[in-house]
Amino acid sequence: MTTTYVLRGVRPLGGDPADVVLAGGVIADVAAPGAASVTDRDAAGAPVDVVEIDATDHVLLPGLVDLHTHLREPGREDAETVASGTRAAAAGGFTAVHAMANTSPVADTAGVVEQVWRLGQEAGWVDVHPIGAVTVGLGGERLAELGAMADSAARVRVFSDDGKCVHDPILMRRALEYVKAFDGVVAQHAQEPRLTEGAQMNEGVVSAEIGLAGWPAVAEEAIIARDVLLAEHVGSRLHVCHLSTAGSVEIVRWAKGRGIDVTAEVTPHHLILTDDLARTYDPTYKVNPPLRTAADVEAVRAGLADGTIDIVATDHAPHTREDKDCEWGAAAFGMTGLETALAVVQDTMVDTGRMTWSDVARVLSSAPARIGRIDTGAAPQGRPLEVGEPANVVLVDPSATRTVDARAQATASGNTPFAGRELPGRVVATFLRGRATVLDGAPVAAPAGSSAGAPTRGGHR
């Protein structure tokens, strides 16, 4: 039997209270409080369960879409699996994630991206959209078979060597040109490799004092400047991953002013944390690009508020304990983020009055879905909260607070930089095409064989 959910008194996008009905996999009704029409029969006349949820003062957002998630499978199932990572995503309010290509083997063939896509389907927590590698083995030497990945069942549209920069300018040019054939986008990890050899943290006052090798802002900015000019020259689409410096914001602002087709993301951690945390030498705070200065944090907040930065993407990067419980210089880069992203955005952007909930829906749902080209097609994401749209929604209690407990998280890894920190807001429920993946703040296992109800998509160009 299917379930109809009636969200009573909820505030869509933080607006006026309404009753919202999720039935038959879609948003069936949006009505004045108390006025929603609910039947206990579906369109075919079969009986349905009706579950009423008192959502007074809760905010309804479209299901969140992450353009930058490391699910680690295949290869590093000891850190995360598609199942555990997507469960964490659902707990964080996501209904779709883009899985980065730096797995083992690398997602640089149709076979690997289809495997990841299939694992996502089987897990059923969120839609998993694999990102394809730009170059074979992330080697930065020759193009991977981008067309085959685009044409596969996974229908890849986002290509990235994330973790490594496509630094060879002619290779980057070719990639930007090539993906135009299937409306793809190259998501660049902007890091000039020679300027960052052995780099451990942001280069500045703190690195000078504590003696860790510096990762200068110019190493990011120089690549972004080059890439926006290349994108302009060949008339292609560029996406800048995890932009982290004030100078990067300026360059993207300039490029957009020129009409260049560039989009940019910022991570939650770059919106809130600074390089001062490196003074602890706790590798939990070791991340790439590194935590920057307070001035950079202010610049990325301003850039997100004024639209220069299009989206927030988590760069959720789970790591095993042994890869973090060691010397800073020996530790892996990265921190988890799926289960804290929305709270950090609320804390830094909403509660400070810099953005509305409608803006949150844009930067965490509609814009990333549009960049990934998953806003149309058989299982669209990032859609408006309107009758007839797929019931991909997240119910948030913005007045709740919680203290982050690494061990209580759904991710298989414990490397959250927010452990012990109090953050605002709570994901109460997440719905994927009308099915609850999270209820009362807890993940709800999918019924066996449900396969999340996602229609199978054939390859087509």
Binding site: E203, A208, E209, G211, L212, D325, C326
Partner: protein
Amino acid sequence: MKHLLSTADLSKDDALLLLDTSAQMAATQSREIKKLPTLRGRTVVNLFYEDSTRTRISFETAAKRLSADVINFSAKGSSVSKGESLKDTALTLHAMGADAVVVRHWASGAPAQLAHAGWLDAAVLNAGDGTHMHPTQALLDAFTIRRHLVGLRGGGADRDGVGSDLAGLKVAIVGDVLHSRVARANVRLLHTLGAQVTLVSPPTLLPVGVEAWPCRTSYDLDATLADWQPDAVMMLRVQRERMSGGSGAFFPSPLEYTRYFGLDGRRLALLPEHAIVLHPGPMNRGLEISAEAADSDRAVIVEQVANGVAVRMAALYLLLAHTEAAHTEGTSL
């Protein structure tokens, strides 16, 4: 003081206590019987992840002169080289009952992790971590400077300058500041003790962010020596690998480095009469310091080595025995 991790953690009182205790320790080292019973029954582990024979034997000598049991745990020939984690090594040392761990590590911050991660409860002495800190080196440098420029020169009753800080003294630190834990440790300690510091280095070997340090910087050694007239000049060792690496080399050639930043007889003559020359060793004669400068009577380089033992005795004593001694009337060295 529970640990000695960074000179940035030391108050002026802490620093003076360390230097004054070092003076007492140094005095015992001119006795016929140099060994003191102070740390009898205590275990000091030298945990060395980098080769450093001179620092290790200095700590070993210091611990043995205080009658501690010393265990040398080297990264070579132990489970470390087979990839044991710092954490497991720390847990092992804890289980063996180490009272103090003297750690030299290639990773900046490793001693701080040992001290604060909850893996062991021993006192941690930083014997040099990455490009971060080398507190006992800075202390022995300050001790040597004080002895020569406050004690002996002051002509007072106390030739070690006990009780005095370094107010008014000018110290030039010359060379590869970027990669130097010795420079970082000295800048903080000398500032705390009231001295003025000028770092002299090619621009490529000064860190971005140095502007926040409590010191001046210069690219011009001749001008610094002639115009600023430092009371002490500390030459830093230049690692050979800084000149290689092709396009990433930090300066064009050893000859050019020596031409602009090497201390030789001509530059020595620019210094005031009383000025002293320090070097943490080991020296590259002919690169950052000429034989003439290294062997001149201004050079106190060999004395630095002797003072290193006294300073490390003081550090071990203060971390391991001081609190007990404070309650035992009449305890003397």
